[in-house]
Amino acid sequence: MAEAPGIEGVFRAEYGRAVAVLVRFLGDIGLAEEAVQDAFATAMAKWPETGVPPSPAGWIITTARNRAVDRLRRESSRDARHAEAARLYAPDAPPEEGPVPDDRLRLIFTCCHPALAPQSRVALTLRLLGGLSTSQIARAFLVPEPTLAQRLVRAKAKIRDAGIPYRVPRDADLPDRLGGVLAVLYLIFNEGYTGDPALCTEAVRLGRLLAELMPDEPEVTGLLALMLLIEARRPARQDADGVLVPLSEQDRGLWDRSLIEEGQDLVRRCLRRDRPGPYQIQAAINAVHSDAPTAAATDWGQILLLYDQLTALAPTPVVALNRAVAVAEAEGPAKALELVDSLDLPRYHVLHAVRADLLRRLDRPAEAAGEYARAADLAASAAERAYLDRRRRDLDHRTT
C-alpha cells in the first residue's frame, strides 16, 4: 500500500488531462472516462510492484487508449466502430505525452456549455476535470448521490446526443461562454468556502489551469486572484471551537502570506491591463483588506470606491449589501442601515447578519437580537450559526 498515495496524487493531478485527451480520441465522454478508469485500475495493480513510471500521465493516457481500442474491438459489431478503432492506431495520431492544455480547455468549455443545466455544469466540471467521485460531489452539494449520478448521466448523454461540440468557442462567443465557465469555478469555490475545503482547493487548481491556458483574459486572472486572496484567510476563519471568525476579528498573523502575495501580484497585473470586470474588482477589494495590518487600518474609502465601480458593472442586491457594509465603515451605520433596508433579499442570511450588526452599533440591542436570530435560522453552515448565536448572546448580556 506504500504506493497508494502516489497513485492518488497522480489521479488528482492527471485524471482531467487524461479524460480530455481520450475524449478527443474517442469523441465520447462516457467511453473516455471508462478507459481512463480502466487505466488507473491497472496502475493500482501494477505500480506497487513496478513503481510509478517516469511519465505517469503518459503511461495512463497510453494505457487508456489501448484499453479503449481493445474495448471497441471487442464490443463493436459495426464497421464504423472498426474504422474508428483502426484510426486510433494510425501512426499520424497526435503524440499522447507532454502537456496538452488545449484538450483540458476544450473539456472545460464543453462541461460549461449553456445548453447544459447549471447544476450539471458544476457537477460535470468536478467529475471530469477534478476527478472527484460522484459521492464526493453529492456530499459537497448536499444532493442525494443517485440524483447527482443521474444528473451526470443525463449531461453526458446530452453532450453526445445533441452534438455539443468539444471545442473552445469562437472569439465572438467567448464573453458569454467564458462568463459561464468562471461562474462555475466561483460556484465551486463558494460551495467549499462554507463546506468542504477540498472544493476550494479544486476551484483554485482549475482557476490556475484556466489562467495558464487563457493568460490574455483579465477576468480569468481576476477570478484566480479573488479565490487566492479569500483562500489565504482560511486558517483564521474559524476558531478552535469551529465558530466563524469574521474578517474584522481575524488574527491576521494566521493568513497565508504566499497566497496573498500571489493574489496581490495578479491584481496589480489586472490594474495594468485596465479592463476591469466584476471578478477583478472583487479581487481588488480583497487585496485592500489583505493590505491592512489591522482591521482598524483598512482603507474603507478605497473599498467604497471599488464597490461603486462594481455596482456600475454588476448592480445586484448582493453587491449593494456588500457596499452597504463599506458605507457603514466609511460613513457610519445609520447611512448603511438605510441602504440595507431598501434591499429585497429576505432569505439571505447575510442581510440579516449585517442588519443585526448595524442595529447593534446604533444601540438598538433588542432589534439586533431578533435579526441575529433570523440570520442564524437562515445560515447554511454550523460555523456561521455558532457565530451568530454568540453575537446574540453577547447582546443579551449587555441588555440585562
Binding site: 459495426r78 464504423a80 456549455h113 445548453a115 446526443d161 445533441a162 452534438g163 455539443i164 461540440p165 468557442p169 462567443d173
Partner: protein, 116 residues
C-alpha cells in the same frame, strides 16, 4: 452532419400579432429560410395551423378511434417546424437564434437520432 428540429413554441391563447407586425414576421421568416437554403442547411420548414384544426387517431382494441382536437391541452403548442442539417449543436443553436429573432417566438432545438 446531424439533423436538428427547430420547433416554434406558440403560447396557447396568445394574441396574434397585428397585420403589419405579422407581415414583417413573415418577411423575416422567409429571409431566414433563404439563408438556410443558401448555406445548404435547409431540409424542410413550415408553419402549422392551430391545435383546434388537429385530429387525433387513437389505437383502441385493434381499432382506431378518431376524435377532434389535440392529444393534450397545453400551455404551449407546436406552431411550426424547421428541419436543418448542422455540424453540431453550436451550429444548430446559431440557426435557432436566428429563427427566434425572425419568428419572435421561443424555439426548441432537438437533435434527431443518428441514422446509420
Amino acid at each position: 452532419m446531424k439533423h436538428y428540429l427547430l420547433s416554434v413554441v406558440q403560447p396557447t391563447g396568445g394574441q396574434p400579432p397585428a397585420p403589419d407586425a405579422l407581415a414583417e414576421i413573415m418577411r423575416n421568416v422567409e429571409a431566414f429560410n433563404d439563408e438556410l437554403r443558401a448555406a445548404g442547411a435547409w431540409v424542410f420548414a413550415g408553419g402549422l395551423h392551430g391545435p383546434e384544426t388537429a385530429t387525433v387517431l387513437r389505437p383502441e382494441d385493434g381499432d382506431v378511434l378518431i376524435t377532434d382536437g389535440p392529444f393534450a391541452e397545453g400551455k404551449e403548442y407546436l406552431g411550426g417546424l424547421c428541419l436543418i442539417r448542422a455540424a453540431d449543436l453550436d451550429e444548430a443553436l446559431e440557426w435557432g437564434r436566428k429563427a427566434a429573432l425572425a419568428t419572435t417566438l421561443p424555439i426548441e432545438v432537438r437533435p434527431f437520432v443518428d441514422q446509420h
